[in-house]
Symmetry: C3
């Protein structure tokens, strides 16, 4: 399990190295890595880790995609639930040679949409 403290209402936090550390310590050679976020106002995004402007653009675009309708839910965070739905909160990744199989520019981000909060990511390895 990975524990995260987020600092803003909307924020992308790179968790790639934390996942890699869990895989390394497990000594698993070949298999899969399941990520699951036990929260309903956060998600996981796998996207570019090079230019930080991409993170900013993705958060801004998600914000602008939330339609201007009257939400009923009283907590005022229906936009956060919608963004969680769009991103998804479970992912599966391939593991080979005791490491994640990723593209050159891939970073795995915890996507906070209703922070700041203390958050968790469950990590399950399958051999």
């Amino acid at each position: 399990m990975i524990q995260i403290k987020t600092n803003k209402r909307n924020e992308l936090i790179d968790i790639t190295s934390k996942i890699q550390k869990i895989i390394l310590e497990s000594k698993i050679s070949s298999g899969a890595c399941i990520l699951y976020i036990p929260h309903t106002t956060a998600g996981i995004i796998i996207n570019e880790n090079a230019d930080p402007d991409v993170k900013t653009d993705l958060l801004a675009a998600l914000g602008a995609m939330v339609p201007k309708i009257n939400f009923l839910h009283g907590e005022g965070n229906s936009d956060s639930h919608l963004k969680s739905l769009i991103c998804g909160k479970e992912k599966i990744l391939i593991v080979e040679n005791n490491t994640l199989v990723l593209g050159t520019w891939d970073g795995i981000y915890f996507a906070e949409f209703d922070g700041p909060r203390n958050r968790k990511v469950f990590v399950k390895l399958i051999e």
Copy 2:
């Protein structure tokens, strides 16, 4: 396999307990649970199971996100295909101690976008 009868064009139906029952009967202790929906106008949403207004808000938001363009597909359900794409129709969940690993407020919903229909969810367990 889970069989569902939906009642409206757009509807979220909680299938969490039906999945839990399949896991319980399988006696699988630790592993993963794959969900797959063999339909192209439905999806799976994992989100809040407490306040039912969240479900209403998510369905309304998805409807409002469908752009007002001229769709070519003759069946008049291109919006349904798009909502299926946004939600996704396959998910993977973690299983520990013969039960799903979920967050406190997580419900797993069959998301109908072109009902009413008879629908299926395939459930595959991996140990």
Copy 3:
């Protein structure tokens, strides 16, 4: 691994038969098939393979969903990163009887959002 040459900026390419061939050659009977795209401006869509208008509608709708905001990322493809996020770039499918478990109308599409390019899809089978 599947290699693809895309021809347009936005394009859906059916890779179902290429995945089926990998499964057939593996002789795996029952398990799962993980797909992973090591690119940040492409995704995977599982949707209708019958009427080609559905593909056209989905690409048009994704284009229209990109909000008209000022993107910061200098490469001019922030829309492509956003579409990759919406579709997702990892999927898990069920395998039974040495074949994919799909719905009648399901096709698996490589979704190009910043082509033309040479692209890859990683395929991992779990028994």
